[in-house]
Amino acid sequence: MEPTRSSDAGSGNSGTYTPEIAESIRFEEEIQSLMRENTMHPGLEPPPVGGGGSSFTALLGLPANQAVELLHEPESEESPAVAIASASGGEMWRFRLRDPKALTLPSGCSPTFPSNAALVERAARLSVFATEDSPEAASVPSHSGDRSTKPKAEPADSDSQPICPIPGERPQRPAKRKEADKGNKVKGPAKKTKSAEEGSAKGAEENTSGSGEKLPYVHVRARRGQATDSHSLAERARREKINARMKLLQELVPGCSKISGTALVLDEIINHVQSLQRQVEVLSMRLAAVNPRIDFSGLDSFLSAECGRVTVGDGRCGGGMEQSAWMEATAVNEGRRQQQQIWHVDSVHPHPTPSVWERVDSPHLFINPGTSLFGYDPSNSVASLHSNQLKTEL
């Protein structure tokens, strides 16, 4: 599929970088679609088409983006796609790395391509890092794992390319490349690369080697005018991580984004968590008072079918569907009181549930590649388990 695409693009255009540019555009589109599928975080929307132009010109102003200009010249009709794609990549990168010199956007737009899989993997992993969400974190490696299995031949071909990079393209090789592992929070020894050639060669190798596995190292380069001590570098990396997560928390908590200062933001977060827990208490009291009218006879099978279907789509919409199903069930069951016996449980309520969890949880320790909010789908086994329980009780 990839060669045909590049040949199609190549037939219509001229220029030495044409096939690679077409490939890069495809990569960006893939990245974009990947981001759109995986990122549900409110702070990171799919790149707006209207804003693509402004951020593209902002990108043009950056020193490390000569590749973008190179792309811009021969392919004028495809520049909007490039703009949008690079804008998306740029937005994504800028969201995380505040230092514009440290942008590693050229990895997406540069004519040299370490590998499709590596690119998608890195972009996906870094979008994961931005959103800080574990379902997506685990969803991304599996997602990109699918992609990496297909173009296995291509990394072998394109491996030769980055070893001899175009020297003009990488004068300022990206300073900060964080391939921090998202799944396990182990901080490997931080490796500091200070020379440019070392950095670029290592960067190429890391790109290709990191396509299939997660790198335990955090590669950080000392910035200009800052201490190059190993301790301070590690501390700076840690501080950046903490700041990124604080930003995410600020977006989650309503009314927190205008507050400046860490202590006040922390106070707000604590207040928010306390208020949520209090709301749970109040609502449980109300439910206890109101509850006696509910009837759930036909609901079980219906909802288990729904759960089997609803693996994609966020948890809110899944909850909405279940909610409508539940309301329909209550409307239907107003006249079918005799089916209450199905739900007759003869043991204390908390007791069966822990055993159920322990039995069901063990085979399902990983997260679904779907985009549900909680990323957990033991629906099939749970449904069968509970239907078994129901049968025994009947």
Partner: protein
Amino acid sequence: MSAFHFLRALSQINKTTPKSSLLLRSRRIRHAAYASMAYTAGRSRLWSRALLRRLQRRSRLRYFSSQRTRAVIAPRRLKAVRPRSGEPSRAEALRRLVPGGAGMDYCSLLDETAHYIQCLSSQVQLMQKVVGSISS
């Protein structure tokens, strides 16, 4: 998904608990809410594991409760969360709020808090919808 578990637990509570004991019902419903929340979040989250552990411990003790065990449960040993270095002082309060927060470093604490807030708010929304549709 969480709605499924929560509603089923709710129906179970409906059938088994007598209507007179409002306090007991509300406590059980709260237990079910947190349980379904943690169950849906899965085993890969620190807070969900800690929450499930806490709930199971409490439910098991209550299930097998006698006079002796009740006397054992009642005095809660409050392990003091020692103020750690390199993090703001308010982090202790956050650790107490988020389940399992005492054993985490600050970085993962923020991460877990974010996910916990997400799950909590969706659980609250779900319960609000349930109450709304019942009472209307």
